[in-house]
């Protein structure tokens, strides 16, 4: 997937922004940051996924230690598809992977689906976007959405 990436940081030392997928992570502590990932052409102007957090601390190997992670996914008409929240994650900017052994809460944009579990990995790959939750997965589906 041809991701466009804009990383906006309100840094303690200033503001940085950059585009492209193979970029260097910020070298200093960032606060209240967000990263936008865009759809493939012809919708490359539209945000597909927004990753944000209250703090991001650079780690060796091009990783970021992100606090209060929030991931929002949108459709091409701008509708919110889902929101995922976690207290912490390690974000690998170059490979587009956000992972943590901690708890994850995810709710669909319409509130019909709620999923939570412990230990997760979001992958924004070239050809696939996926979420793996390792343990204690629980999904609650609003009545009528899944008729059994």
């Amino acid at each position: 997937m041809a991701w466009g990436l804009v990383f906006l940081c309100s840094l303690a030392l200033g503001v940085c922004s950059f585009q492209g997928r193979a970029q260097q992570p910020p070298l200093s502590h960032a606060q209240d940051f967000s990263t936008d990932m865009y759809f493939k052409p012809p919708n490359e102007q539209l945000v597909e996924t927004r990753l944000s957090g209250t703090n991001a601390l650079p780690l060796p190997g091009g990783l970021l230690d992100v606090k209060k992670l929030k991931i929002e996914s949108f459709s091409t008409n701008g509708t919110l598809v889902m929101t995922a929240l976690a207290d912490q994650c390690t974000y690998d900017i170059r490979h587009g992977i956000a992972s943590s052994p901690g708890h994850l809460d995810l709710v669909s944009g319409d509130g019909a689906y709620h999923l939570d579990g412990d230990g997760f990995m979001f992958v924004w790959g070239t050809n696939a976007t996926s979420l793996t939750v390792s343990n204690h997965v629980r999904t609650v589906i609003r009545n009528g959405m899944l008729k059994l």
């Binding site: 629980r138 589906i141 959405m145 899944l146």
Partner: protein
């Protein structure tokens, strides 16, 4: 040989339960792990999967849901040690066991089609058990739109208190 058993009580029971127990009027799925692929819009639950619904309880080791962008899941597959319990309005329990259960949903020319196909393996076909007895069938198909169970090459075991006859051994 093919037989049909009309199970209108299923629908009545399910509606009754949903109305009288609004506090649990939702579906909960628990498992050890889960995987969602955004491109295929497929959610896979693995290991000790349990589904609790006002109408149904389901246990299996792997549950796959195909989730369209809008609306109802089109395909749900339960695999490995599948157990499904239904309870009717008279608290009569229907207990289905199989290797695999495939639920399909479609709308063709305005008509809704909902089928659940249970399959097993040689020597262990799907089975539905009630207080009255047990039926083995390969496959066992539940047409949810018509509330009809279809049996193929089936074997029936009636409890002695009901039939007054000896049980029929399963295939």
């Amino acid at each position: 040989m093919k037989a049909k058993i009309f199970l209108l009580l299923f629908a009545a029971a399910c509606c009754a339960q949903a109305q009288t127990d609004p506090g649990t009027n939702r579906t909960t799925i628990t498992s050890e792990s889960g995987y969602f692929d955004k491109n295929s819009r497929r959610m896979v639950y693995s290991t000790h999967v349990y589904v609790n619904d006002p109408r149904v309880q389901l246990w299996c080791e792997r549950l796959t849901l195909d989730l369209p962008p809008q609306g109802h899941p089109t395909n749900v597959v339960a695999e490995t040690n599948v157990v499904i319990d239904f309870i009717d309005a008279t608290n009569k329990t229907y207990h289905v066991t199989s290797d695999k259960a495939v639920y399909s949903f479609s709308v063709d020319n305005g008509k809704t089609n909902e089928l659940v196909t249970f399959t097993g393996h040689e020597g262990k076909p799907p089975a539905v058990k009630t207080a009255d007895g047990m039926i083995y069938s390969e496959p066992l198909v539940w047409d949810r739109t018509a509330d009809v169970l279809h049996f193929n090459n089936y074997t029936t075991i009636l409890n002695q208190s009901i039939s007054g006859t000896n049980s029929i051994l399963p295939k």
